[in-house]
Symmetry: C2
Subunit: 235 residues, 2 copies
């Protein structure tokens, strides 16, 4: 049984679950695995504590939510939220079941699908995900350096796009995301990692040429969960 | 906390959850409610026991799954699968929390949104849902008689469309569903209830004119869950 620690945000959780189901090969219901999802949007904000603007840590709620999934019977966990992976080491210390790390998975998948340490990779994420170096640390192990959005790019495109998805304004989010990807591409970026689980939700509102540059970590995580549960190699 | 007894099928559960999240008014994650979803595709097939072609009842697994959601903390339950509502009376006998009935909700919504007992309503569903009279019983309370697909319609359109969704063949499902709705419309049906939670998933592959005739019970159920949790009146 797969356990999904979700609600950060809820639509990203729904997006993950749909991708997981669509990637699972099945002819009938009974071919699918059991999945328990705890969408817990009451987990305190993750951005504030990382940036030092809030003292309320989400860690106790993250650990408690993960443990409840484990007690329900989950044998493999994942969490479709990048920023919350700041607390990944402390969460897994409290668990007895494996927990797939979204950035680990995505980084390995990029490096195993035709890209190498010469590829110019850019990452679109919350300020907290960038500051916590959730992707940079992993890519640097492989000698890949990451481009990050500059301050104007963050304030005019990335953060408003994430906020637009959270309030269900998808057309607006799609325009902002398109601008954001195009800005990176103009700077020579070949691969854009949409490292906030809100962003891939707006991808269908991005035109298809721009879309070809994107990596969707939600889909990578879903694929890794499918392969792990099916005991297939995870790229 | 909302509890979703799902996995029948898993994609229908994902569809329900996405509709629920999109209908919930929110500016940020914390505005959303907690949701626990148990996608349990290992629940035995529902169609066989109703049609008398299988002796394995899904009832014990349905009750156990619902109880696990209740133990997790769910205060309101729902089940995005019409056929499984055949066992609704026995399931709720074993629970202490309210459980919204998908056909009750959909029937009330249709009758409160400009349709009356003169409207010609057709229902597309599995043979088991039709035989168990899950919709007919409710509509007849309001004096509305339901059109059902004839045998050719079932075998050529409805059942293949449901099977196509279950194996992720959406374009094929969309064509079959379009034919199915058009067949009803030619018979004078004004409102087509897509009374199998697989069918609305194919709606985006149905052309927009045909789509205007359809009622999506998954969306009606999601709306009723939103209104109940927000303590707003359910239509």
């Amino acid at each position: 049984m797969l356990g999904v620690l979700g609600g950060m945000g809820p639509l990203a959780t729904a997006d993950f679950f749909e991708k997981f189901v669509r990637l699972w090969p099945a002819e009938k219901d009974q071919d699918h695995p059991q999945v328990v999802i705890f969408s817990n949007p009451k987990i305190p904000d993750r951005v504030g504590p990382i940036l030092g603007t809030s003292a309320t840590s989400p860690l106790p709620a993250l650990i408690e939510s993960a443990k409840r999934l484990q007690e329900f019977g989950a044998q493999l966990l994942c969490m479709p939220c990048h920023t919350a992976h700041f607390w990944y080491p402390q969460i897994i210390q409290n668990l007895d079941v494996p927990f797939l790390h979204i950035a680990d998975i995505t980084c390995k998948e990029i490096l195993h699908t035709g890209h190498d340490d010469k590829s110019k990779v850019g990452v679109l994420a919350t300020r907290a995900t960038l500051q916590a170096k959730i992707y940079q640390d992993r890519f640097s192990e492989y000698g890949v350096s990451l481009m990050q959005p500059d301050q104007v790019h963050m304030e005019q495109n990335v953060l408003p796009a994430i906020a637009a998805v959270k309030r269900n304004s998808m057309v607006e989010a799609g325009e902002l995301l398109t601008n954001s990807i195009d800005r990176f591409v103009q700077q020579g970026v070949e691969v854009v990692v949409l490292a906030c689980t809100e962003l891939p939700i707006a991808l269908e509102y991005v035109d298809s040429d721009t879309r070809t540059h994107c990596i969707d970590p939600t889909e990578s995580l879903a694929r890794a969960c499918v392969n792990t549960l099916r005991q297939r190699p995870v790229k």
